[in-house]
Symmetry: C2
Subunit: 200 residues, 2 copies
Protein backbone atom coordinates (compact mmCIF):
# COMPACT_ATOMS: atom_id res chain seq x y z
CA UNK A 1 0.00 0.00 0.00
CA UNK A 2 0.87 3.69 0.09
CA UNK A 3 2.24 3.11 -3.38
CA UNK A 4 0.73 5.61 -5.73
CA UNK A 5 1.09 8.81 -3.75
CA UNK A 6 -1.20 10.97 -5.81
CA UNK A 7 0.77 11.03 -9.03
CA UNK A 8 -0.87 8.10 -10.72
CA UNK A 9 -4.60 8.45 -10.69
CA UNK A 10 -7.16 7.76 -13.31
CA UNK A 11 -5.02 5.94 -15.79
CA UNK A 12 -7.57 3.89 -17.62
CA UNK A 13 -5.71 2.70 -20.71
CA UNK A 14 -2.82 5.05 -21.28
CA UNK A 15 -1.80 6.32 -17.85
CA UNK A 16 -1.18 9.78 -19.28
CA UNK A 17 -3.01 12.41 -17.24
CA UNK A 18 -5.66 14.45 -19.08
CA UNK A 19 -3.76 17.69 -18.79
CA UNK A 20 -0.81 16.31 -20.71
CA UNK A 21 -3.06 14.67 -23.26
CA UNK A 22 -4.80 18.00 -23.82
CA UNK A 23 -1.54 19.86 -24.32
CA UNK A 24 -0.21 17.20 -26.66
CA UNK A 25 -3.38 17.20 -28.75
CA UNK A 26 -3.53 20.98 -28.82
CA UNK A 27 0.08 21.28 -29.92
CA UNK A 28 -0.45 18.92 -32.81
CA UNK A 29 -3.71 20.51 -33.95
CA UNK A 30 -2.46 24.08 -33.57
CA UNK A 31 0.65 23.26 -35.55
CA UNK A 32 -1.11 21.41 -38.33
CA UNK A 33 -4.16 23.61 -38.83
CA UNK A 34 -3.29 26.89 -37.19
CA UNK A 35 -4.27 28.20 -33.77
CA UNK A 36 -7.33 30.16 -34.76
CA UNK A 37 -8.59 27.33 -36.96
CA UNK A 38 -8.85 24.86 -34.09
CA UNK A 39 -11.71 24.93 -31.60
CA UNK A 40 -11.53 23.75 -28.01
CA UNK A 41 -14.06 21.01 -28.69
CA UNK A 42 -11.79 19.51 -31.32
CA UNK A 43 -8.84 19.65 -28.92
CA UNK A 44 -10.77 17.94 -26.14
CA UNK A 45 -11.99 15.23 -28.47
CA UNK A 46 -8.50 14.62 -29.88
CA UNK A 47 -7.23 14.37 -26.31
CA UNK A 48 -9.83 11.74 -25.49
CA UNK A 49 -11.57 13.94 -22.98
CA UNK A 50 -14.08 16.77 -22.98
CA UNK A 51 -14.33 20.53 -22.86
CA UNK A 52 -15.11 20.74 -19.14
CA UNK A 53 -11.94 18.92 -18.17
CA UNK A 54 -10.02 21.19 -20.50
CA UNK A 55 -11.41 24.26 -18.77
CA UNK A 56 -10.65 22.80 -15.34
CA UNK A 57 -6.98 22.82 -16.30
CA UNK A 58 -6.78 25.98 -18.38
CA UNK A 59 -8.45 29.29 -17.72
CA UNK A 60 -9.01 29.95 -21.42
CA UNK A 61 -8.00 28.83 -24.86
CA UNK A 62 -5.40 31.60 -24.95
CA UNK A 63 -3.82 30.21 -21.79
CA UNK A 64 -3.74 26.77 -23.34
CA UNK A 65 -1.98 28.23 -26.36
CA UNK A 66 0.57 29.85 -24.08
CA UNK A 67 1.14 26.59 -22.22
CA UNK A 68 1.68 24.71 -25.50
CA UNK A 69 4.29 27.21 -26.61
CA UNK A 70 5.84 27.16 -23.14
CA UNK A 71 6.44 23.44 -23.37
CA UNK A 72 7.79 23.77 -26.89
CA UNK A 73 10.09 26.52 -25.69
CA UNK A 74 11.49 24.25 -22.98
CA UNK A 75 12.10 21.50 -25.50
CA UNK A 76 13.82 23.86 -27.91
CA UNK A 77 16.18 25.12 -25.24
CA UNK A 78 17.33 21.59 -24.49
CA UNK A 79 19.32 21.51 -27.73
CA UNK A 80 22.22 23.50 -26.31
CA UNK A 81 22.91 21.03 -23.53
CA UNK A 82 22.60 18.20 -26.02
CA UNK A 83 25.13 19.80 -28.37
CA UNK A 84 27.55 20.27 -25.50
CA UNK A 85 27.06 16.66 -24.42
CA UNK A 86 27.68 15.36 -27.93
CA UNK A 87 30.75 17.51 -28.58
CA UNK A 88 32.11 18.47 -25.17
CA UNK A 89 34.57 21.35 -25.29
CA UNK A 90 34.40 21.57 -29.08
CA UNK A 91 32.23 24.59 -29.93
CA UNK A 92 33.00 24.43 -33.62
CA UNK A 93 31.76 20.87 -33.80
CA UNK A 94 28.72 22.00 -31.82
CA UNK A 95 28.08 24.69 -34.40
CA UNK A 96 28.27 22.14 -37.18
CA UNK A 97 25.95 19.87 -35.26
CA UNK A 98 23.54 22.76 -34.76
CA UNK A 99 23.50 23.34 -38.50
CA UNK A 100 22.78 19.70 -39.20
CA UNK A 101 20.06 19.54 -36.59
CA UNK A 102 18.44 22.67 -38.01
CA UNK A 103 18.70 21.19 -41.49
CA UNK A 104 16.82 18.16 -40.29
CA UNK A 105 13.93 20.35 -39.16
CA UNK A 106 13.95 22.30 -42.41
CA UNK A 107 13.98 19.28 -44.70
CA UNK A 108 11.39 17.31 -42.73
CA UNK A 109 8.51 16.97 -45.20
CA UNK A 110 6.02 17.14 -42.33
CA UNK A 111 7.46 20.44 -41.16
CA UNK A 112 5.24 23.47 -41.20
CA UNK A 113 7.92 25.83 -39.97
CA UNK A 114 8.52 27.01 -36.44
CA UNK A 115 5.40 26.80 -34.29
CA UNK A 116 6.51 29.85 -32.32
CA UNK A 117 7.07 31.98 -35.40
CA UNK A 118 3.76 30.78 -36.82
CA UNK A 119 2.02 31.74 -33.59
CA UNK A 120 3.59 35.19 -33.78
CA UNK A 121 2.03 35.58 -37.22
CA UNK A 122 -1.37 34.39 -36.08
CA UNK A 123 -1.47 36.32 -32.81
CA UNK A 124 -0.47 39.93 -33.38
CA UNK A 125 -2.21 41.25 -30.27
CA UNK A 126 0.53 42.55 -28.02
CA UNK A 127 -1.19 41.48 -24.81
CA UNK A 128 -1.83 37.90 -25.81
CA UNK A 129 -0.39 35.55 -23.15
CA UNK A 130 1.47 33.63 -25.85
CA UNK A 131 3.43 36.64 -27.05
CA UNK A 132 5.84 36.89 -24.14
CA UNK A 133 6.50 33.17 -24.43
CA UNK A 134 7.36 33.59 -28.10
CA UNK A 135 9.58 36.62 -27.60
CA UNK A 136 11.30 35.09 -24.58
CA UNK A 137 12.09 31.85 -26.39
CA UNK A 138 13.39 33.54 -29.52
CA UNK A 139 15.51 35.88 -27.43
CA UNK A 140 16.96 32.97 -25.44
CA UNK A 141 17.69 31.08 -28.65
CA UNK A 142 19.49 34.07 -30.07
CA UNK A 143 21.57 34.50 -26.91
CA UNK A 144 22.54 30.84 -26.82
CA UNK A 145 23.50 30.96 -30.47
CA UNK A 146 25.62 34.06 -29.90
CA UNK A 147 27.31 32.35 -26.97
CA UNK A 148 28.08 29.31 -29.09
CA UNK A 149 29.51 31.45 -31.88
CA UNK A 150 31.64 33.32 -29.35
CA UNK A 151 33.00 30.07 -27.94
CA UNK A 152 33.77 29.03 -31.51
CA UNK A 153 36.19 31.95 -31.59
CA UNK A 154 34.81 33.97 -34.48
CA UNK A 155 35.55 37.67 -34.68
CA UNK A 156 31.94 38.83 -34.77
CA UNK A 157 29.84 36.27 -32.91
CA UNK A 158 26.70 38.43 -32.78
CA UNK A 159 26.74 38.89 -36.54
CA UNK A 160 27.28 35.21 -37.25
CA UNK A 161 24.52 34.25 -34.85
CA UNK A 162 22.06 36.70 -36.37
CA UNK A 163 22.92 35.54 -39.88
CA UNK A 164 22.29 31.93 -38.93
CA UNK A 165 19.17 32.89 -37.03
CA UNK A 166 17.67 34.70 -40.01
CA UNK A 167 18.73 31.93 -42.36
CA UNK A 168 16.97 29.30 -40.28
CA UNK A 169 13.82 31.34 -39.78
CA UNK A 170 13.77 32.10 -43.49
CA UNK A 171 14.23 28.49 -44.49
CA UNK A 172 11.45 27.37 -42.18
CA UNK A 173 9.00 29.95 -43.44
CA UNK A 174 9.99 29.26 -47.05
CA UNK A 175 8.88 25.66 -46.81
CA UNK A 176 5.33 26.88 -46.26
CA UNK A 177 5.15 29.10 -49.33
CA UNK A 178 7.62 27.64 -51.81
CA UNK A 179 7.64 24.06 -50.56
CA UNK A 180 10.60 21.88 -49.76
CA UNK A 181 12.00 22.15 -53.28
CA UNK A 182 12.32 25.93 -52.97
CA UNK A 183 15.16 28.01 -51.56
CA UNK A 184 15.02 26.03 -48.33
CA UNK A 185 16.89 23.14 -49.91
CA UNK A 186 19.95 25.41 -50.00
CA UNK A 187 19.85 25.82 -46.23
CA UNK A 188 22.89 23.73 -45.39
CA UNK A 189 24.99 25.10 -48.23
CA UNK A 190 24.10 28.67 -47.27
CA UNK A 191 24.69 28.08 -43.57
CA UNK A 192 28.01 26.38 -44.17
CA UNK A 193 29.15 29.27 -46.37
CA UNK A 194 28.27 31.75 -43.65
CA UNK A 195 30.12 29.76 -40.99
CA UNK A 196 33.15 29.24 -43.20
CA UNK A 197 33.33 32.93 -43.99
CA UNK A 198 33.44 33.75 -40.28
CA UNK A 199 35.99 31.06 -39.53
CA UNK A 200 38.16 32.61 -42.22
Amino acid sequence: MTETKGLARNESPDRIPPRDRIVAAARELFYRQGIRAVGVDAIAEAAGTNKMTLYRHFASKDELVAECLRRLSVEKNEVWARLEAEHPGDPRAQLQAWLREAAGNVSDPRSRGCALANAAVELPEKDHPARQVIEQCKQTTRENLVALCRRAGVARPELLADQLFMLLEGALVCTQSTGHAGPACQFVTAGQAIIDAHLR
Copy 2:
Protein backbone atom coordinates in the same frame (compact mmCIF):
# COMPACT_ATOMS: atom_id res chain seq x y z
CA MET B 1 -21.86 63.26 -74.07
CA THR B 2 -20.91 59.57 -74.14
CA GLU B 3 -18.26 60.55 -71.65
CA THR B 4 -18.46 58.21 -68.73
CA LYS B 5 -18.90 54.92 -70.49
CA GLY B 6 -19.67 52.87 -67.45
CA LEU B 7 -16.41 53.25 -65.64
CA ALA B 8 -17.36 56.11 -63.38
CA ARG B 9 -20.55 55.34 -61.58
CA ASN B 10 -21.64 55.75 -58.04
CA GLU B 11 -18.83 58.02 -56.89
CA SER B 12 -20.51 59.75 -54.01
CA PRO B 13 -17.63 61.31 -52.05
CA ASP B 14 -14.46 59.50 -52.93
CA ARG B 15 -15.06 58.24 -56.49
CA ILE B 16 -13.42 54.95 -55.59
CA PRO B 17 -15.69 52.04 -56.57
CA PRO B 18 -16.85 49.76 -53.74
CA ARG B 19 -14.93 46.77 -55.03
CA ASP B 20 -11.62 48.58 -54.71
CA ARG B 21 -12.53 49.97 -51.32
CA ILE B 22 -13.38 46.49 -50.11
CA VAL B 23 -10.09 45.05 -51.33
CA ALA B 24 -8.13 47.92 -49.83
CA ALA B 25 -9.88 47.60 -46.48
CA ALA B 26 -9.53 43.83 -46.47
CA ARG B 27 -5.82 43.99 -47.25
CA GLU B 28 -5.16 46.36 -44.38
CA LEU B 29 -7.26 44.42 -41.87
CA PHE B 30 -5.93 41.02 -42.94
CA TYR B 31 -2.37 42.25 -42.67
CA ARG B 32 -2.79 43.97 -39.31
CA GLN B 33 -4.94 41.44 -37.50
CA GLY B 34 -4.60 38.25 -39.47
CA ILE B 35 -6.93 36.73 -42.01
CA ARG B 36 -8.89 34.43 -39.73
CA ALA B 37 -9.25 37.14 -37.11
CA VAL B 38 -11.15 39.50 -39.42
CA GLY B 39 -14.81 39.02 -40.23
CA VAL B 40 -16.50 40.08 -43.41
CA ASP B 41 -18.71 42.52 -41.51
CA ALA B 42 -15.65 44.36 -40.25
CA ILE B 43 -14.24 44.51 -43.77
CA ALA B 44 -17.45 45.89 -45.23
CA GLU B 45 -17.72 48.50 -42.50
CA ALA B 46 -14.09 49.57 -42.91
CA ALA B 47 -14.73 49.88 -46.65
CA GLY B 48 -17.70 52.15 -46.02
CA THR B 49 -20.16 49.65 -47.43
CA ASN B 50 -21.99 46.52 -46.30
CA LYS B 51 -21.80 42.78 -46.44
CA MET B 52 -24.26 42.40 -49.33
CA THR B 53 -22.19 44.57 -51.64
CA LEU B 54 -19.12 42.59 -50.64
CA TYR B 55 -20.79 39.33 -51.59
CA ARG B 56 -21.98 40.81 -54.88
CA HIS B 57 -18.32 41.25 -55.85
CA PHE B 58 -16.76 38.18 -54.24
CA ALA B 59 -18.14 34.68 -54.12
CA SER B 60 -16.75 34.06 -50.67
CA LYS B 61 -14.37 35.39 -48.06
CA ASP B 62 -11.74 32.96 -49.32
CA GLU B 63 -12.04 34.43 -52.81
CA LEU B 64 -11.64 37.90 -51.36
CA VAL B 65 -8.50 36.75 -49.59
CA ALA B 66 -7.18 35.38 -52.88
CA GLU B 67 -7.96 38.64 -54.67
CA CYS B 68 -6.14 40.65 -52.00
CA LEU B 69 -3.05 38.52 -52.37
CA ARG B 70 -3.35 38.65 -56.17
CA ARG B 71 -3.17 42.44 -56.11
CA LEU B 72 -0.27 42.35 -53.69
CA SER B 73 1.47 39.87 -55.95
CA VAL B 74 1.13 42.21 -58.91
CA GLU B 75 2.56 45.11 -56.91
CA LYS B 76 5.48 43.01 -55.70
CA ASN B 77 6.40 41.96 -59.22
CA GLU B 78 6.64 45.57 -60.32
CA VAL B 79 9.91 45.96 -58.44
CA TRP B 80 11.98 44.29 -61.15
CA ALA B 81 10.96 46.74 -63.84
CA ARG B 82 11.59 49.59 -61.43
CA LEU B 83 15.08 48.36 -60.63
CA GLU B 84 15.86 48.08 -64.34
CA ALA B 85 14.51 51.58 -64.94
CA GLU B 86 16.58 53.05 -62.14
CA HIS B 87 19.80 51.32 -63.11
CA PRO B 88 19.46 50.40 -66.77
CA GLY B 89 21.97 47.84 -67.94
CA ASP B 90 23.67 47.70 -64.54
CA PRO B 91 22.56 44.48 -62.86
CA ARG B 92 24.99 44.83 -59.97
CA ALA B 93 23.56 48.22 -59.11
CA GLN B 94 20.11 46.69 -59.43
CA LEU B 95 21.10 44.01 -56.93
CA GLN B 96 22.31 46.66 -54.52
CA ALA B 97 19.10 48.58 -55.01
CA TRP B 98 17.10 45.42 -54.37
CA LEU B 99 18.93 44.94 -51.09
CA ARG B 100 18.23 48.51 -50.03
CA GLU B 101 14.58 48.27 -51.00
CA ALA B 102 14.22 45.03 -49.08
CA ALA B 103 15.95 46.61 -46.11
CA GLY B 104 13.36 49.35 -46.15
CA ASN B 105 10.58 46.82 -45.83
CA VAL B 106 12.37 44.98 -43.05
CA SER B 107 13.13 48.04 -40.96
CA ASP B 108 9.72 49.64 -41.37
CA PRO B 109 8.36 49.73 -37.81
CA ARG B 110 4.84 49.18 -39.13
CA SER B 111 5.92 46.05 -40.97
CA ARG B 112 4.36 42.77 -39.94
CA GLY B 113 6.39 40.71 -42.38
CA CYS B 114 5.33 39.51 -45.80
CA ALA B 115 1.57 39.26 -46.19
CA LEU B 116 1.94 36.31 -48.53
CA ALA B 117 4.15 34.36 -46.16
CA ASN B 118 1.82 35.19 -43.29
CA ALA B 119 -1.13 33.95 -45.31
CA ALA B 120 0.72 30.72 -46.01
CA VAL B 121 1.07 30.24 -42.26
CA GLU B 122 -2.57 31.00 -41.59
CA LEU B 123 -4.00 28.96 -44.47
CA PRO B 124 -2.43 25.51 -44.55
CA GLU B 125 -5.28 23.91 -46.50
CA LYS B 126 -3.83 22.88 -49.83
CA ASP B 127 -7.00 23.66 -51.77
CA HIS B 128 -7.50 27.17 -50.47
CA PRO B 129 -7.79 29.59 -53.43
CA ALA B 130 -5.10 31.78 -51.89
CA ARG B 131 -2.47 29.09 -51.88
CA GLN B 132 -1.75 29.03 -55.58
CA VAL B 133 -1.46 32.80 -55.53
CA ILE B 134 1.09 32.59 -52.75
CA GLU B 135 3.13 29.84 -54.36
CA GLN B 136 2.99 31.46 -57.77
CA CYS B 137 4.18 34.83 -56.48
CA LYS B 138 7.01 33.39 -54.41
CA GLN B 139 8.11 31.27 -57.33
CA THR B 140 8.10 34.26 -59.68
CA THR B 141 10.04 36.30 -57.16
CA ARG B 142 12.64 33.58 -56.88
CA GLU B 143 12.98 33.31 -60.65
CA ASN B 144 13.36 37.05 -61.10
CA LEU B 145 15.96 37.16 -58.37
CA VAL B 146 17.88 34.30 -59.98
CA ALA B 147 17.75 36.12 -63.32
CA LEU B 148 19.08 39.28 -61.72
CA CYS B 149 21.92 37.40 -60.04
CA ARG B 150 22.77 35.71 -63.33
CA ARG B 151 22.89 39.06 -65.13
CA ALA B 152 25.16 40.29 -62.33
CA GLY B 153 27.65 37.68 -63.50
CA VAL B 154 28.09 35.60 -60.38
CA ALA B 155 29.23 32.00 -60.68
CA ARG B 156 26.27 30.45 -58.89
CA PRO B 157 23.26 32.68 -59.44
CA GLU B 158 20.72 30.17 -58.10
CA LEU B 159 22.59 29.83 -54.84
CA LEU B 160 23.00 33.56 -54.37
CA ALA B 161 19.32 34.13 -55.12
CA ASP B 162 18.20 31.46 -52.67
CA GLN B 163 20.50 32.79 -49.99
CA LEU B 164 19.08 36.28 -50.41
CA PHE B 165 15.57 34.91 -50.59
CA MET B 166 15.88 33.03 -47.33
CA LEU B 167 17.61 35.97 -45.70
CA LEU B 168 14.78 38.32 -46.57
CA GLU B 169 12.05 35.91 -45.54
CA GLY B 170 13.87 35.27 -42.30
CA ALA B 171 14.34 38.94 -41.54
CA LEU B 172 10.68 39.64 -42.21
CA VAL B 173 9.45 36.84 -39.99
CA CYS B 174 11.96 37.75 -37.28
CA THR B 175 10.47 41.19 -36.85
CA GLN B 176 7.26 39.56 -35.67
CA SER B 177 8.82 37.41 -32.95
CA THR B 178 11.99 39.24 -31.92
CA GLY B 179 11.01 42.75 -32.89
CA HIS B 180 12.94 45.24 -34.98
CA ALA B 181 15.89 45.22 -32.57
CA GLY B 182 16.46 41.52 -33.11
CA PRO B 183 18.48 39.73 -35.77
CA ALA B 184 16.58 41.59 -38.48
CA CYS B 185 18.64 44.72 -37.90
CA GLN B 186 21.59 42.83 -39.38
CA PHE B 187 19.76 42.28 -42.64
CA VAL B 188 21.74 44.70 -44.78
CA THR B 189 25.09 43.66 -43.34
CA ALA B 190 24.29 40.00 -43.86
CA GLY B 191 22.94 40.54 -47.36
CA GLN B 192 25.93 42.61 -48.39
CA ALA B 193 28.30 39.95 -47.10
CA ILE B 194 26.52 37.30 -49.13
CA ILE B 195 26.63 39.42 -52.29
CA ASP B 196 30.27 40.34 -51.80
CA ALA B 197 31.24 36.72 -51.31
CA HIS B 198 29.64 35.81 -54.63
CA LEU B 199 31.20 38.77 -56.45
CA ARG B 200 34.54 37.56 -55.13
